[in-house]
């Protein structure tokens, strides 16, 4: 017989736990759900838009009754559980309904805090917590005029905004002198207040409520000091309290909330609790992301997988109050041990404050322009040392060179038909519709369903803003991202295990780290193949089936299934003979397009797969090898003509570029890797947007690293200056090897350096000669194994793989 699971509380956290549980153990339990409200599970965060008239109740239902029926879940709505009998393991509802359990899940949520002043129990005094409250407000707005909202926090302001939109005259009363003081500092609070006043709301700040007036229903409110105002409705939005009543009565240990451990278990091992009612490591949570993370961990334990711990969440608030962009995270008030960086532009209505401690972000408040909120929050969570880019920190990650979303950085100001994701053609309306119709809550969900920000990622900030304003809140937890769905280990763990455990094959890594899928997926296999090869160049065997098609067939797949072929042209220098050979190949194989690339090479586009070996053979015969224009590898070294021809040239940039390319070609990398050598600071080879760039000067060579000319233009950081070509080579190899050994697969040098910090790279490559020599040595050793022309090998050994297995007709 199946075990019985009873859920008390038919809200977002509890039902999410069931969803997670049913995903991994669909047949384990007979499930019964008790909900006090007469509805299926709905999105409580969306009550504000319902009040504002932007949505209906039906729009915010997450799980309708049919959902429960289809999954054979017994649903009791409108029944409040009155008692838990822990000895006999059953729960009893106020109408006498009983249900026995083997496991009990408490998700009783929270209650609005009703300030205990005289008159607080009068009709017309409500909280803002459920659908019934919203109905009360809407009904009142139809026949009455004046409303008072007590509490100028998030919930209160949303209630006030909604009531105003319903035509009421609304006054917000707040105990302190700053609105939303838990999320905003004083300046941001004042900006917010000003724009809300412009929308017609009235405020009484630093005001304490003394009594609610009226006989049979509310007539007004009196404040300390004697002021009285008329009111037909009082909304108490002065905070929420975890609903622990039931648990307390059953003798389960509670403090502010129901106390749970890292597996979401209460002091009674048969009873779990999730959501706003719990207290975990002293914290209570009211945002979606932590609750959903709790749900996932709890489901895992209910399914007896026994792995996964909830370790708490750092939350950020990025909230849309009536079309106003707000973001805050961490400790944004600061104290005597912190410093502030502040930017305020009153006429643009923009305010940003970053609180720093020991060169790390400690907190952030943003008003008006929140596009970089997610970035600051990530820096905060990761504890990144920001000293390397402190001078540009305030201008955000996206302050220059971001392509693909028309320069927009405030989602609220965008209309529904405006394009957010320029790669995949996704408009704001598409994203909003997907979020509401499919019930999406996370960035990953949105990416999966709409593809917005799933390609180049430059519009991620905008998508997060839209998510925040549509879902109602948006928060991320601290969890380290696993490499892919097949494992819980992040990239770093995997690399470490491969190194320390001497793992030389994909199979060995999967076995040692207990991969969850039998043979991985298209995300992890290429990564593992690379990590094994890069760590153990002499021992690991390449697995072509774990390579992306371009690396498997050493050409670049095009949209019509043909390929493009780029022969190597050292340093971008060619000869009449090479050009003749390329022209002959293009004629012989009827190659439709011949194009010069951005990296100073010639691209032959539209080659049929079965022609590839013959095309390569002809190019090989003319002395050319693969240009690796398809791989996560050294691509090109772009050069200018330097001192050999140019009247400004200071050094032989062409010769140096050719030498660098001849020494580094063929090396597999975490991602593509581009170099350039410019002969003088005029920088015609554009060396300062390359992964490794050399700018020759009269006295030597400037070495620049971490540049990128693509989606997000990033100028290089200066690594150091050296004096001889030999030094350039050594530093170059050391830098490449550090990147090869430590970056995550598919991480370009630019984000890698931003992650680990330029100081770290300098420490390894510049400051410590021993480390530099060792790195360069390991690179040379690795090159002994990889510097072979793959085209020649394929022509020799695997020609038949390029042909159809059979031609019919």
């Amino acid at each position: 017989m199946k075990e019985k699971l009873v859920l008390v509380g038919n809200g977002m956290a509890g039902v999410r736990t069931l969803e997670e549980l049913l995903k991994i153990a669909p047949d384990m339990y007979d499930i019964t759900v008790f909900g006090a409200e007469p509805y299926g599970n709905y999105n409580r965060i969306m009550l504000s838009p319902v009040l504002a008239g932007e949505k209906t109740i039906n729009d915010i239902i997450l799980n309708d009754r049919q959902w429960y029926a289809e999954l054979n879940i017994t649903l009791h709505t409108g029944k409040v559980i009155a008692r838990i009998d822990r000895r006999q393991r059953k729960v009893m509802a106020d109408d006498g309904t009983e249900a026995a359990y083997d496991r009990l899940l408490l998700a009783t949520g929270s209650n609005p805090f009703i300030i205990p002043v005289p008159g607080c129990d009068l009709p017309g005094v409500i909280g803002f917590r459920d659908i019934r409250d919203v109905h009360t407000m809407l009904d009142t707005a139809r026949s009455f005029k004046h409303a008072v909202v007590i509490g100028g926090g998030l919930l209160g302001l949303e209630a006030a905004n909604g009531l105003k939109l319903q035509g009421m005259n609304v006054t917000v009363v707040h105990l302190t002198d700053t609105l939303m003081e838990r999320q905003l500092d004083k300046v941001a609070g004042q900006l917010l207040q000003k724009s809300l006043e412009e929308r017609g709301l009235h405020f009484l700040l630093a005001t304490q409520t003394e009594a609610i007036l009226g006989e049979d229903r509310v007539k007004g409110v009196r404040f300390k000091g004697g002021l009285e105002i008329a009111s037909d409705l009082v909304v108490m939005a002065a905070g929420i309290r975890p609903n622990t009543l039931l648990a307390k009565q059953a003798g389960i240990h509670c403090e502010r909330g129901i106390v749970v451990n890292d597996t979401l278990q209460t002091y009674d091992p048969r009873i779990y609790a999730v959501g706003e009612c719990v207290q975990h490591r002293g914290q209570t949570y009211g945002l979606v992301a932590p609750l959903f993370e709790q749900a996932k961990v709890c489901a895992n334990h209910l399914a007896r997988y026994g792995i996964g711990r909830y370790e708490g969440s750092v939350t950020s608030t990025k909230l849309k109050v009536t079309g106003i962009e707000l973001f805050s995270a961490g400790d944004f008030q600061g104290d005597e041990t912190t410093e502030n960086i502040v930017m305020k532009d009153a006429s643009r209505g923009v305010y940003k404050k970053l609180v720093l401690k020991d060169n790390r972000i400690h907190g952030a408040v943003m008003y008006g322009d929140t596009v970089d909120g997610a970035w600051y929050f990530q820096l905060l969570r990761d504890g990144t040392d920001i000293s390397d880019f402190r001078h540009t920190l305030m201008f955000g990650q996206a302050h220059l060179g971001d392509a693909g979303h028309g320069g927009k950085n405030a989602a609220a100001a965008m209309s529904d038909d405006m394009e957010v994701c320029g790669c995949n053609g996704v408009s704001k309306g598409d994203i909003v519709r997907a979020i509401t119709s499919k019930g999406l809550f996370t960035l990953d969900d949105v990416r999966m369903h709409t593809k917005a920000s799933a390609s180049c990622g430059s519009c991620t900030g905008l998508v997060e803003q839209i998510l925040a304003s549509t879902v109602g809140d948006y928060s991320v937890s601290t969890k380290v991202r696993p490499l892919c769905k097949c494992t819980d280990h992040p990239h770093n763990h995997v690399r470490k295990a491969i190194h320390e455990q001497h793992l030389t094959s994909i199979r060995a890594v999967m076995d040692f780290l207990e991969w969850k899928s039998p043979d991985g997926c298209s995300s992890c296999r290429p990564a593992l193949n690379y990590y094994c090869l890069a760590t153990w160049p002499a021992e690991a065997r390449d697995d072509p089936q774990s390579r992306f098609i371009n690396e498997r067939v050493h050409a670049n797949i095009q949209k019509d299934g043909t390929y493009s072929v780029v022969p190597r042209m050292w340093g971008g220098v060619t000869t009449p003979n090479e050009l003749r050979a390329i022209a002959d190949v293009a004629d012989k194989f009827r190659i439709p397009t011949v194009k010069v690339t951005g990296g100073q090479r010639i691209d032959l586009l539209g080659v049929k797969k079965e022609d590839l070996p013959a095309v390569w053979a002809d190019l090989n015969n003319a002395g050319m090898v693969s240009g690796h224009a398809y791989g996560k590898s050294l691509r090109t070294v772009k050069t200018c003509v330097g001192s050999e021809w140019c009247r400004f040239g200071t050094q032989d940039s062409t010769g140096l570029g050719i030498r660098l390319e001849q020494k580094t070609w063929g090396s597999w990398m975490p991602h593509k890797f581009k170099m350039a050598v410019s002969g003088c600071p005029r920088n015609c080879a554009e060396a300062t947007i390359k992964d490794f760039g050399v700018v020759c000067v009269d006295s030597g060579y400037e070495l620049h690293v971490g540049g990128n000319g693509g989606v997000k233009v990033r100028a290089t950081d200066l690594l150091c200056k050296v004096t001889t070509p030999g030094q350039v080579e050594e530093y170059c190899y050391a830098f490449i090897q550090l990147y090869r050994e430590e970056a995550h697969y598919l991480e370009r040098t630019a984000p890698w350096i931003e992650r680990v910090g330029l100081s770290y790279v300098k420490e390894k490559v510049v400051e410590d000669a021993g480390t530099r020599l060792a790195l360069a040595g390991r690179f040379r050793e690795s090159q002994r194994h990889f510097q072979h022309d793959p085209w020649a090998t394929e022509v020799e050994e695997r020609r038949e793989n390029y042909l159809p297995i059979k031609k019919l007709g």
């Binding site: 499919k438 999966m448 369903h449 899928s517 039998p518 043979d519 991985g520 997926c521 298209s522 296999r525 290429p526 072509p544 089936q545 774990s546 390579r547 992306f548 098609i549 371009n550 498997r552 067939v553 797949i557 949209k559 299934g561 038949e800 793989n801 159809p804 297995i805 059979k806 031609k807 019919l808 007709g809």
Partner: protein, 110 residues
């Protein structure tokens, strides 16, 4: 019914890989999983027509090389939330020799 057409030997297809059969009606991808199961699918992703035979095979799925859609080899269906289907053809193996069965109009054209 002898509408089975022999197309080659299992050893001609790499494990976790695929080869193509050209037909007058378009290419068919022949996929071999790590467990030596074989599948035949129209070599065209329901998304933008990418050549599925060029993708990475993992479990009983293949990832399209153009935009990373995941396609179930057993049914040809795109893995949710993506939606679409690539046609699946009957396939059998006998002593290492692989045969596929084509729908009428392709068969007649042979």
């Amino acid at each position: 019914m002898s509408d089975w057409i022999e197309i080659g030997h299992i050893n001609d297809i790499p494990r976790q890989g695929a080869r193509v059969v050209n037909t007058p009606q378009g290419d068919i991808g022949i996929f071999r999983t790590a467990e030596d199961e074989l599948f035949a699918l129209r070599d065209s992703c329901p998304h933008k027509g990418g050549s599925l035979s060029q993708g990475i095979v993992h479990g009983r799925r293949v990832t399209c090389p153009l935009h990373n859609w995941h396609i179930e080899l057993t049914t040809g269906e795109a893995v949710a939330p993506d939606q679409g289907c690539a046609a699946v053809y009957p396939i059998r193996i006998d002593g290492g020799r692989i045969s596929i069965s084509l729908p009428l109009q392709i068969n007649q054209a042979v």
